[in-house]
């Protein structure tokens, strides 16, 4: 492909990402209503979780349904450390967000060592089983205070500032998760994960240390999920086992990634951006917590029927096919003796 033609889409993509970042940055400035910014915070939490989940499941092909373990671990890390160490309820509490990520990554080691010995359906079932074991532990262990939950210190800042602080910290964690996902995608590590997705045994035979790569990827994907779990605990102010370790979290995050496009960088982001506000809106509107599940089910069916690979890959394919058709049509219309001008849309091409 000629360099100019290759550079143009790359520039467009970079521009789109920059515009997206600006929009997200300006959101709480434009929409000051606390109800709206609360939806904003939750949407960012799920966007981060979906991106992080995809950086393991999307690239390796291992559909994990146990990332709520990492979310809950992050939440309990924030709640227990801040309570036991008497943290002042202010911005210093956010210092515990990375700790939530680190503890979640440590939690991923025994979890991964057990679950990653299996593949495909067995792996999915084992992740669900481990999740319920951990939830049960949260209910029954002494230090998690069982079903009475843990109270988290309430922030001291004012009502208008309340959501914005959480919003921007979560946005930072989202940027971090995206950076990790993008770095993995272009790295040797990412190539090995994709090879594992296509044929794990073959990858082993070509020198890929598959167990190490899978476990590392599992741990890395746990970090941002644990971080947003910690933010969630601080934001909500009180956590209970059934909400910190919520099976619906796993289903939702996986659905978001499938909806947007598994294994792509922007797909899970888009999935969460569409689905989470819908869920929040429906919950607020109908005050019945489960209405969104019906809508989720319907949307999931629609995506499976219309674009089974998710929105981003399907659209990308259609755009590419359309571009090829236009190019082919133009070549047919040209004098065969004249070499085709590949990049007619660029200023250079237009001046010819």
């Amino acid at each position: 492909m000629p360099p100019v033609a290759a550079a143009r889409p790359r520039l467009v993509v970079a521009g789109a990402w920059a515009a997206f970042a600006v929009l997200l940055g300006l959101f709480p400035v434009v929409f000051t209503n606390p109800t709206v910014t609360t939806i904003g915070v939750f949407t960012l939490v799920y966007m981060t979780a979906a991106v992080a989940w995809n950086s393991f499941a999307g690239y390796s092909g291992y559909v994990a349904l146990g990332h709520a373990v990492f979310f809950g671990t992050g939440a309990y890390t924030m709640a227990l450390v801040s309570t036991h160490w008497n943290f002042a309820a202010g911005y210093t509490m956010f210092a515990l967000v990375p700790a939530g990520g680190v503890v979640a990554a440590l939690m991923a080691i025994p979890f991964g060592l057990i679950a990653l010995r299996t593949r495909r359906h067995t792996f999915v079932v084992i992740t669900i089983a481990v999740f319920f074991v951990v939830q049960l532990l949260a209910f029954n262990l002494g230090f998690t205070q069982g079903s009475s939950g843990v109270q988290v210190p309430t922030p001291t800042w004012g009502a208008t500032q309340y959501n914005n602080s959480f919003y921007y910290v979560t946005l930072g964690v989202l940027a971090f998760a995206l950076a990790i996902s993008a770095a993995i995608r272009r790295s040797r590590f990412g190539l090995q994960l994709l090879a594992i997705r296509d044929d794990e045994d073959r990858a082993r035979g070509l020198g890929v240390k598959v167990q190490r790569v899978k476990l590392l990827s599992f741990m890395v994907s746990a970090v941002p999920v644990g971080m947003v779990g910690a933010i969630y605990a601080f934001f909500i102010g009180q956590i209970f086992p059934q909400f910190a370790f919520d099976p619906l979290f796993d289903v939702t995050v996986a659905l978001m990634a499938f909806f947007g496009g598994l294994g792509t960088l922007s797909g899970p982001l888009l999935g969460a951006l569409v689905l989470e506000p819908i869920q929040q809106y429906l919950t607020l509107q109908y005050s019945v917590g489960s209405v969104y599940l019906v809508i989720y089910g319907a949307l999931f069916l629609l995506v499976i029927l219309v674009m089974p690979r998710g929105i981003v890959p399907t659209l990308a394919e259609r755009v590419a096919a359309r571009r090829e058709r236009t190019q082919a049509a133009r070549l047919v219309g040209e004098d065969p003796g004249v070499p085709p001008v590949v990049d007619v849309g660029s200023p250079v091409g237009a001046s010819r």
Partner: protein, 258 residues
């Protein structure tokens, strides 16, 4: 010549089935050794044991004098022993070039592997050279899943070569491939052998085997029954019996070795 790959007294059973029984084999450095035998004689099981996919019940496998029995496939590959599969196994959703880069060997920590790009310029150049060697350069950016069966065989050979293995195990390289591509595969193997690569080849195409190999081993019911130069093995009655189940009619003999 010295032995580069040695298999000594390998036995393996799957439940009640004795797949290999006291199987020994020597592959000399710089040779092309063929492994023939009827279906179910244990050839692929032996390949799987040599390359670490299956653990033997007893016996040893040594590569250049080092015992690799029971080592993992990635460890055996790192020791310079690459293989292809009977039914080609490529990474269908990756591009042809990405397939080539999977096998690139690099000693680096996990953090560097996450932070560094998938391939350096040097590694990419090497990948392109090998794609050129098997005639797949123009398909470098195509999805590997779109390649024809013969092209997949060539890609599999090429990406094994990326890591520059000393011994290459080929499981039916000519199986299901059209005659033109068979010649191309044969030429590539001969050329690589001329550069010093050692081959162990499983193949049913007798013309291919006999024209290519220095040494042929015929297996029957999990045990090698004869090892020798192609012309000797070709006319040995035990080989004919193995293929035809003890038949002694001449017209059937022709089918076996023709």
């Amino acid at each position: 010549m010295s032995a580069l790959l040695e298999v000594r007294g390998i036995s393996k059973s799957f439940g009640g089935l004795q797949a290999l029984q006291d199987c020994s084999l020597t592959v000399e450095d710089g040779s092309i050794t063929a492994l023939i035998g009827p279906n179910g004689s244990g050839k692929t099981t032996l390949f799987n044991i040599i390359t670490g996919y299956v653990t033997p019940d007893s016996g040893t496998v040594t590569v250049a004098g080092a015992d690799v029995t029971g080592a993992r496939p990635d460890q055996i590959f790192a020791r310079g022993l690459g293989r292809t599969f009977q039914l080609t196994r490529i990474f269908g959703r990756l591009t042809v070039l990405e397939n080539m880069l999977v096998a690139t060997q690099r000693k680096e920590g996990w953090l560097r592997s996450v932070l560094r790009p998938a391939a350096s310029e040097l590694e990419q150049r090497r990948a392109y050279e090998l794609l050129d060697f098997v005639g797949l350069t123009r398909l470098a950016s195509a999805r590997a899943g779109t390649l024809s069966y013969g092209q997949r065989k060539l890609l599999e050979l090429a990406y094994v070569l990326v890591a520059d293995p000393a011994v290459i195990l080929l499981d039916e390289p000519a199986g299901g491939v059209n005659p033109t591509l068979i010649n191309q595969i044969r030429d590539r193997i001969t050329e690589l052998n001329g550069q010093g690569k050692t081959f162990l080849v499983i193949e049913h195409n007798m013309e291919f085997v006999m024209s290519l190999s220095h040494q042929v081993t015929c297996m029957h019911q999990g045990t090698p029954i004869i090892t020798g130069p192609p012309e000797v093995v070709q006319s040995d009655h035990r080989v004919l019996d193995a293929y035809l189940g003890g038949a002694d009619e001449e017209e059937e003999d022709d089918v076996a070795v023709g």
